[in-house]
């Protein structure tokens, strides 16, 4: 009995020590835990499509280090318990090098420690800063920082002389993380939050709460949300004649939300990655080429417009591929270190500069203030 266990342990140790390097032709296993269906499917579904597309493209052009990438996608439906189960499966059983996703912050936080203990690189596609604060060496994230998005909004508000604001957020991970950052940073810009409310992610009408905010005489409104319900805000504001500037978060990065808002969406301001205005970027913009290529590939393959959400998964795979190339090996520690060493790396969401103390990689420059004009995204200050 003891002997067999010892043998098993030894076998495991040997497997551990020679990670995947055995056969040169063997694929590099990468896991992806995404909310393809369920309440966060508007994030997970484009992320999955993007990831599959990019992996296909990398493999078609010869793969990495002469090996193909094998992407194992798991649909977590936005549940932390399923994400936990899948993470253990991917780490212990498939022994993947890295995990892309999860799409939501709750799931990402649930598997953060598992990835750290299992020495598996996690490239989260969720925005909450708790994912990389405190820093776990193996855990990174690709979306921009909530705090930077808030700063862009507040800066614009200051320029417009807005002092008293109302805040509404959705009751998902994205919304509540944003609310925390807004409440933390607003005082730095001398802003007074007159009222902050949380609405259901499945809300069907928001005129009631907007009416409540209207009664507070605010000069500007921030809606921080990533769910489809956010398209209601602009509509409902116009319907009840609530006329103050509307600021959305970077969760607004999907032209569908503009279309759903119709005429009402015009004039909405929000910080976003330049992917939404890729074709308006000056020729010398560092991201222009990458963005146009992603958009072109995605739209050709899936017949739908690329969103900022799919871009998070795009960056995650791009970063992983670059780190593997730089490390020249699939040794976990070396790849991890290579990610930490990435500087000035051009991604779709911005220019990534990771370091030992920053696993978010992006700063204020990853954003640009956009606005909606005639149903299209345009740069606020071209």
């Amino acid at each position: 009995m003891a002997g067999r266990m010892l043998a098993g342990l030894l076998a495991a140790a040997v497997l551990w020590a020679v990670p995947l390097a055995a056969g040169q032709g063997e694929p590099i296993k990468v896991g992806a835990i995404l909310s393809v269906s369920g309440p966060a499917s508007f994030l997970g579904a484009p992320e999955k499509r993007t990831a599959e597309m990019l992996v296909q493209k990398i493999n078609a052009s010869g793969g990495l280090l002469g090996r193909k990438i094998q992407l194992i996608v798991k649909d977590s439906e936005g549940s932390p318990e399923k994400a936990t189960s899948f993470a253990k499966q991917l780490i212990e059983e498939e022994k993947v090098l890295a995990i892309i996703g999860p799409s939501t912050s709750g799931e990402s936080l649930a598997i953060k420690n598992l990835c750290q203990e299992g020495k598996t690189i996690l490239l989260s596609c969720a925005a909450a800063e708790k994912i990389v604060d405190p820093i776990a060496p193996y855990v990174f994230k690709t979306p921009q920082k909530d705090s930077d998005a808030a700063r862009w909004i507040f800066q614009t508000m200051r320029e417009m002389n807005i002092r008293r604001i109302g805040v509404i957020v959705s009751n998902d991970g994205f919304g509540i993380a944003g609310k925390a950052q807004i409440e933390k940073i607003a005082p730095e810009y001398g802003l007074q939050i007159a009222i902050a409310e949380v609405y259901d992610k499945g809300a069907t009408d928001l005129t009631g709460v907007l009416n409540k905010i209207k009664g507070q005489n605010v000069e500007g409104l921030v809606n921080w949300s990533i769910v489809p319900a956010q398209a209601l805000v602009a509509k409902n504001m116009k319907q009840i004649g609530f006329q103050v500037p509307l600021f959305q978060s970077h969760g607004y990065g999907n032209i569908k939300y503009v279309q759903a808002g119709g005429e009402a969406a015009n004039g909405t301001m929000f910080p976003a990655s330049p992917i939404l205005v890729a074709d308006q970027l000056p020729a010398k913009h560092p991201q222009r080429e990458l963005l146009l290529s992603y958009k072109k590939d995605y739209e050709a393959m899936y017949k739908e417009e690329a969103s900022a959400f799919g871009a998070y998964a795009y960056d995650a795979i791009l970063i992983l591929a670059e780190a593997i190339r730089k490390a020249g090996t699939t040794d976990r520690e070396k790849v991890r270190a290579a990610i930490e060493d990435l500087k000035g790396f051009v991604g779709t969401s911005g220019i990534f500069n990771y370091s030992k103390t920053d696993h978010s990689g992006l700063d204020m420059s990853a954003f640009e203030m956009l606005t909606v004009k005639d149903g299209k995204f345009v740069r606020l200050k071209p």
Partner: protein, 354 residues
């Protein structure tokens, strides 16, 4: 004679040993992770089977009780009492009810002993089950279904809305639950084998208790209530009390399973409290044969195991929907019409279904 009823329990534990040894020998011990999780979910379904299959009372809110157990575990275990120790915390410390750990990032955390929070979870669940159960269990049919669904939704919206309950992110970083000596409910791979056994023993315990109950005087009374409330009353059975008793019991079973699984998973989120989760428990009870504890346990472990391994892909929920329809249309008595001898309940397996 009296010991014979425990033969299947012993067989269950022997089967567990067999499964573990086989998997470990095949270098596939990682299957134990999902088996352990599935066992906890199956325990909830077994508890629901007592309520639904035997007493005939539907509940669409059992995920709510699971979440009450799980969230109690999470809230109390992640509350760091080292930050600002109040008088209460000092008193608890003096009684030796506080534990200390260091998290991955080097922070020292002083937290309440999970034994205390288990007691708290049981008390809280009992209190909630009384407040909700006493009035609601008198309702019948659709009204009971709606009321229990409503209860589950209130729990869901509460954990989703309350800042102290983690809102949409829920809880992570829930530490393990040291039971005794080296035994610990903990999801790390080093604890994998022993946690499989912990879950098995808990499941065996619930099966033994449930098996005892359905053969007892109260068990017969519950089935009588199911098959004819008026006749049951005429025999002196306090129908409301019998229904409430089994409601409370199955709520407690769900809460304890939630408590353990939260420590095992290291966290919990609002997705554990959704109506869809409650419906899953219902589907498992239905496919297990309604009033069939062993069928429920087997289907509960099997289906959850497949689901947790992602075998159903993006059709995960749809599978449970199809099961519900198929069972009701094709085999309302469940898929196990006849179990082999030691698992067979007195009085026939297909008795008392729906």
């Amino acid at each position: 004679m009296e010991g014979r009823r425990y033969i299947p329990i012993v067989l269950l534990l022997l089967a567990a040993v067999g499964v573990q040894l086989t998997l470990s020998a095949c270098d596939a011990a990682y299957y134990l992770t999902q088996l352990t999780m599935s066992l906890y979910y199956a325990i909830v379904a077994v508890g629901l089977s007592l309520l639904m299959g035997y007493a005939g009372q539907v509940s669409l809110g059992h995920a709510g009780f699971f979440a009450i157990g799980g969230y109690t575990a999470a809230v109390l275990a992640t509350r760091n009492l080292a930050v600002e120790p109040g008088a209460m915390a000092r008193a608890l410390g003096a009684m030796g009810l506080l534990l200390q750990r260091e998290d991955l990032y080097g922070q020292t955390i002083v937290y309440l002993s999970p034994w205390v929070s288990l007691a708290a979870a049981i008390l809280l669940t009992s209190a909630v089950a009384c407040v909700i159960g006493v009035p609601v269990i008198r309702l019948k049919g659709h009204y009971l279904a709606m009321a229990t669904l409503g209860f589950g939704l209130i729990v869901y919206y509460t954990v989703l809305g309350a800042p102290g309950l983690g809102e949409a992110d829920g809880f992570s970083d829930v530490p393990g639950f040291r039971l005794a000596g080296p035994l610990e409910v903990n999801g790390r791979s080093a604890f994998r084998v022993q946690n499989f056994y912990i879950a098995c023993v808990l499941a065996a315990g619930v099966m033994a208790l449930g098996g005892n109950l359905v053969r007892s005087r109260m068990g017969r009374a519950l089935r009588a209530v199911h098959e004819g409330e008026e006749a049951a009353q005429s025999l002196g059975i306090h129908v409301a009390r019998a229904k409430f008793g089994v409601f409370l019991l199955s709520a407690l079973i769900a809460a304890v399973a939630g408590f353990f699984l939260t420590h095992y998973n290291g966290g919990i989120g609002p997705s554990e409290a959704t109506a869809l989760k409650s419906v899953r428990y219902l589907a498992i009870v239905a496919v297990g044969g309604m009033a069939n504890l062993w069928g429920t346990l087997i289907m509960g472990v099997g289906l959850n195991f497949l689901s947790l391994r992602g075998a159903f892909g993006s059709f995960d929920d749809a599978v449970f929907g199809v099961i519900l329809i198929a069972v009701m249309v094709l085999a309302p008595e469940g898929v196990f019409r006849r179990l082999p001898w030691p698992f067979r309940r007195k009085g026939g397996d297909d008795a008392a279904a729906a």
